[in-house]
């Protein structure tokens, strides 16, 4: 049997996604074998720091009875000594039963899968893919509503925000309608817009949150990085007009949910945390059952 890898959400069809999400729900309701991955070892190769994603994978393997190995820090790893990723992967394949990788270069996980003899899971490669994030985003949406034909707003930096790109691609499988709001220069890339519309997805661009708040089911807020703006004045200008507040949400549908891949900076007013619309902490917690389902999928 060919080794299974999880590299990009684009490699999944809708029924494969649904099957994984169903499995995650089963795990979430505590119906799973706690020794499913007993004796299995997961290698966490994080070539750039992402403490939460790494902890979430480590928690997932531990809950299934397996253990994890991780690289101490980027400085300590052999990549800093000039070894190729291909060599690192070939070596680590001998130490572990699966590899989860995060790397600053786009396409690194796909390369890793070519050289690995064990399954590879992509935990983010540069501005590229981060499929476990997309799966947990979809999982969180599905906890509140069926995903079919919903109206989803993506706001913030949609040019460099990879979580927004992968989510948009996955939502095209569910005939969702997309609403976007982003500062000038940080719009969704044209190639992605063309790809989505060719799949029949409707994309509506907006000038303000107020304009769309009454029509949407999901408000997906992404981080805006200050370094993307020419000066801090223009950053603060945009940041304040994009900030999600309880006042803004008063015009929302009752079942609207607010998601954010976290960590947030100024994008969401802390007062929103108390609102029934806020689901971003739930979303982050969902990372564990979703990653457990992913590990079982490739390691069993």
């Amino acid at each position: 049997m060919a080794t299974r890898h999880i590299i990009s959400i684009g490699d999944f069809n809708r029924s494969e996604i649904d099957r994984l999400l169903d499995h995650a729900r089963q795990i979430d309701s505590k119906k799973y074998d706690r020794n499913a991955l007993n004796g299995k070892i997961l290698a966490a190769l994080f070539f750039e720091p992402s403490t939460r994603t790494r902890m979430s994978f480590e928690s997932a393997i531990a809950r299934l009875g397996g253990t994890s190995l991780s690289v101490g820090s980027v400085d300590a790893c052999s990549m800093a000594k000039g070894e190729t990723l291909a060599d690192t992967i070939r070596v680590v394949s001998g130490y572990a039963d699966a590899i989860v990788i995060r790397h600053p270069k786009e396409g690194a996980a796909r390369l890793a899968a070519e050289f690995a003899t064990v399954p590879v899971i992509n935990a983010g490669d540069g501005a590229g893919q981060h499929p476990s994030q997309t799966l947990l985003d979809l999982y969180t949406i599905r906890q509140s509503m069926p995903i079919d034909k919903i109206d989803v707003a993506l706001i913030g930096d949609l040019r460099y925000g990879r979580t927004a790109h992968s989510l948009a691609s996955a939502l095209s499988l569910y005939n969702a309608r997309l609403h976007t709001l982003s500062p000038t220069g940080l719009e969704l890339p044209d190639t992605l817009v063309n790809e989505l519309t060719s799949k029949g997805m409707e994309i509506v661009n907006h000038d303000s949150i107020e304009e769309m708040i009454g029509t949407i089911d999901v408000l997906y807020v992404t981080r805006m990085q200050r370094e993307r703006f020419p000066d801090s004045a223009s950053y603060f200008n945009v940041a304040s007009s994009y900030r999600i507040t309880p006042e803004l949400l008063s015009g929302a549908k009752e079942h609207l949910i607010v998601l954010h891949p976290l960590p947030r900076v100024d994008e969401i007013d802390p007062r929103v945390d108390e609102s029934p619309h806020a689901r971003y902490f739930e979303q982050s917690k969902n990372g564990v059952p979703v990653r457990m389902a992913m590990l079982m999928d490739v390691m069993q």
């Binding site: 190729t84 990723l85 291909a86 270069k105 786009e106 396409g107 190639t191 063309n194």
Partner: protein, 158 residues
């Protein structure tokens, strides 16, 4: 013999017949140098090479022709030409005779020919891999980072 200046005769005047080798005909006007580039023919190549550009053509208005002596192009080389000139025809010449005539087919995958324009792509590092692009109606898609090349393909040829 009267000179009526037909397209065929102009062509004959421009380039001499070759004994053995490959004639690439019906190249889109102005693309001959890119065809040569795609075939990896450089100043150090041994084969005699002749190029005619903007030759009047009944079907195409104007076309380019490349003649390459003593070299028969492989299927993979030929198909790369389709990326920039899908109407090109390939004539394999042996002892002044056309022994084989074929069109070009756009390949599904091209490896090691084009550099990924994305500076953050893993294929632009010292990893032991060749670049790899899937050829789709929307453009050339990098197998590693999903970057799409939609235009100026020839400027990315390695």
């Amino acid at each position: 013999m009267t000179h009526t200046g037909t397209a065929d005769e102009n062509e004959r005047l421009l380039i001499r017949r070759i004994r053995n080798g490959t004639v690439i005909d019906h190249i889109d006007g102005g693309e001959a140098l890119n065809v040569v580039k795609i075939l990896g023919i450089t100043g150090t190549t041994q084969e005699a090479l002749s190029i005619a550009t903007n030759v009047p053509s009944r079907d195409m208005g104007r076309k380019d022709i490349v003649k390459l002596t003593n070299r028969e192009l492989s299927k993979e080389e030929v198909d790369r030409i389709a990326l920039i000139s899908p109407h090109a025809t390939i004539n394999i010449i042996r002892n002044f005779k056309v022994c084989e005539k074929k069109g070009v087919e756009i390949p599904n995958l091209i490896q090691g020919l084009v550099r990924c324009p994305n500076p953050g792509c893993i294929s632009n590092t010292n990893e032991p891999i060749q670049s790899k692009f899937r050829v789709l109606p929307t453009g050339l898609h990098c197998h590693y980072c999903d970057w799409v090349i939609t235009k100026d393909l020839t400027s990315y040829i390695i």
